[in-house]
């Protein structure tokens, strides 16, 4: 795990330094978010400096997941999950900051990079009608926005002077675990002058994290343990009540 992280960090940091070193430099206040039972959400500060003219776009993208969107329907008055469409391997977190005044510009310039909410790719079954997929896709984005996983609209970037900028990235308390990637682009006249990518690792820590990890990774042992504890406690309570508390 540690090695894996080091590798990812090297890949991302190493990558940008060799290819585009000069016009854009930035860093973040922390590479790690530890989620425990008391977790109330987190904020990470991103700061940087640009030495060239151009616009800055910052995206934060979270781990790819599979999603199912269901639409409730009524049968004899009872609500049930009717149509269900699954979307595979899509970002579960998305946040966009930019110095472009006009969202349209981003959409046009950067669709290849999956920048802009409407450019995020959601894979679904090709056999479905495009209108249907579109309906559910819009709902998926809205549901992710309601969970605060997707940011609504584009957020502004704060400039301290001509070159120095900062943004605050918000992570909600119900955040999913995994690797989040912050990407910073410097764009001028539709070309990327500089690009930097920084990972943020969201880990679960504490007792409940260990239990859920155990439940998923060692399911057989976990199941046996659940049964064994129940039998043992049943035995204990009987023993306790027979021994110490008479009718």
């Amino acid at each position: 795990m540690k090695f894996c992280r080091l590798l990812i960090t090297l890949l991302f940091f190493g990558g940008y330094q060799t290819s585009y070193a000069v016009p854009l430099v930035s860093g973040i206040s922390s590479n790690e978010i530890n989620v425990d039972t008391e977790f109330k959400g987190a904020q990470i500060l991103l700061f940087g400096a640009k030495s060239d003219a151009g616009n800055i776009v910052i995206t934060v993208r979270g781990p790819r997941k599979d999603f199912i969107v269901s639409k409730k329907q009524q049968l004899l008055g009872i609500w049930y999950n009717g149509e269900r469409i699954s979307f595979k391997n899509s970002y579960s977190f998305y946040s966009l900051f930019s110095t472009f005044n006009n969202g349209q510009t981003i959409e046009e310039n950067l669709s290849d990079f999956e920048l802009g909410k409407n450019n995020i790719k959601f894979e679904s079954s090709p056999n479905l009608a495009p209108a249907k997929i579109n309906e559910f896709r819009i709902q998926l984005v809205e549901l992710l926005e309601n969970k605060n996983f997707f940011a609504k609209g584009t957020k502004k970037i704060d400039f301290l002077d001509e070159t120095l900028f900062k943004v605050m990235i918000d992570f909600p308390k119900n955040i999913l675990l995994g690797t989040y990637i912050v990407e910073i682009y410097l764009i001028n006249n539709g070309t990327i002058l500089s690009y930097q990518s920084i990972p943020i690792f969201v880990n679960q820590v504490g007792m409940s994290a260990k239990i859920s990890e155990f439940a998923y990774n060692q399911a057989v042992l976990y199941g046996l343990l659940a049964v064994f504890i129940a039998i043992f406690v049943g035995y204990l309570t009987n023993y306790f009540f027979v021994k110490f508390i008479k009718k």
Partner: protein
């Protein structure tokens, strides 16, 4: 004090869960039935996902049954041979039940099916109990005799005649019955399916069936039923844990300990209160839960679209 449930993935107040376990255990100890019937809906009402509520409830049933069984063992009130045949059917039934459960979960319909089965069974049970209580009340008040006008066993005559003809007959010396082994196996097969889908012990069906269909003497019925429930509930819990990760061990332990205490207190109180009045109270409670779950089935959701994020 808040505690985070690792599998249900919600924070809950620890005292709320302990109180819940105490109440359901108390009821179960007092009436001998209804532990799962109260625990599962209560857990759903406080926001535990229905699938987790059901699976964790089966985990709790193991504990309650072990505790009860030990008391019956001491009095030698268990027909182990019958219990083993019931356990065989129950193991197969609960395996089938968990498979159905997982299929429904994959199809996004498990919450609905849990809701509907609860409304149905809670409705039937509470109304039957209420009408029994009413008849009892009339009996006492006016000296009428509604209940014993005809023998309950008459209803099952046609079934018993069919059972007579089944092969693989064997003698159960403890119960002193001569019956085909297929009967206990099929019986607990069906109940095992229900146990895994609803997270109940199934005693409310198993006990009358043991008396009227298996023709067992009534003093062996409860102990033998508890004996086989341990196998069914253990199998269901284990399969839920390995196939669906639905068992929340933290929630389970909290419920197990508090309900064990509740059950011990309940069984002591049961001797001191008017049986008919407490029965009526339980019936009304079950009916209220039934109405609440019925309302949830018909209540328009705030958002007709819902999202599942797969692991």
């Amino acid at each position: 004090m808040q505690v985070y449930l690792p599998i249900a993935e919600i924070p809950v107040n620890i005292f709320l869960i302990l109180a819940l376990g105490l109440i359901t255990g108390f009821m179960a100890g007092m009436f001998g039935i209804g532990g799962g019937f109260l625990a599962t809906p209560f857990l759903i009402f406080i926001g535990v996902p229905p699938a987790v509520a059901v699976s964790t409830s089966t985990n709790q049933i193991i504990s309650a049954s072990v505790s009860g069984l030990l008391a019956h063992f001491k009095k030698s009130n268990v027909d182990i041979k019958m219990g083993i045949f019931l356990a065989i059917g129950g193991m197969i039934g609960s395996s089938v039940g968990v498979t159905i459960f997982r299929f429904l979960q994959g199809a996004g319909q498990i919450d609905l099916v849990i809701g509907i089965t609860y409304v149905l069974f809670l409705g039937i049970i509470s109304l039957t109990m209420l009408s029994d209580s009413f008849k009892n009340f009339i009996d006492k008040k006016f000296g009428m005799d509604w209940q014993h006008r005809f023998d309950e066993k008459v209803k099952f005559q046609w079934l018993l005649r069919k059972i007579e003809k089944l092969p693989f007959k064997t003698y159960f010396s403890k119960s002193e019955v001569y019956i085909s082994i297929l009967v206990p196996i099929f019986l607990s097969f069906g109940i095992g399916i229900l146990v895994s889908i609803m997270g109940i012990g199934g005693g409310f069906l198993m006990i009358p069936a043991m008396i009227y269909i298996l023709q067992m003497p009534s003093h062996l019925v409860v102990g033998t039923s508890l004996f086989q429930i341990i196998f069914i509930a253990s199998n269901a819990t284990f399969l839920q844990a390995i196939s669906g990760n639905n068992v929340d061990i933290v929630l389970g332990i909290l419920m197990i300990i508090s309900s064990a205490f509740g059950a011990q207190i309940g069984s002591r109180v049961a001797y001191r209160v008017d049986a008919n009045a407490t029965r009526t109270f339980l019936a009304v409670l079950l009916l209220l839960i039934c109405f609440k779950m019925l309302f949830q089935l018909f209540n328009e959701p705030t958002n007709i679209y819902s999202l599942e994020i797969l692991k």
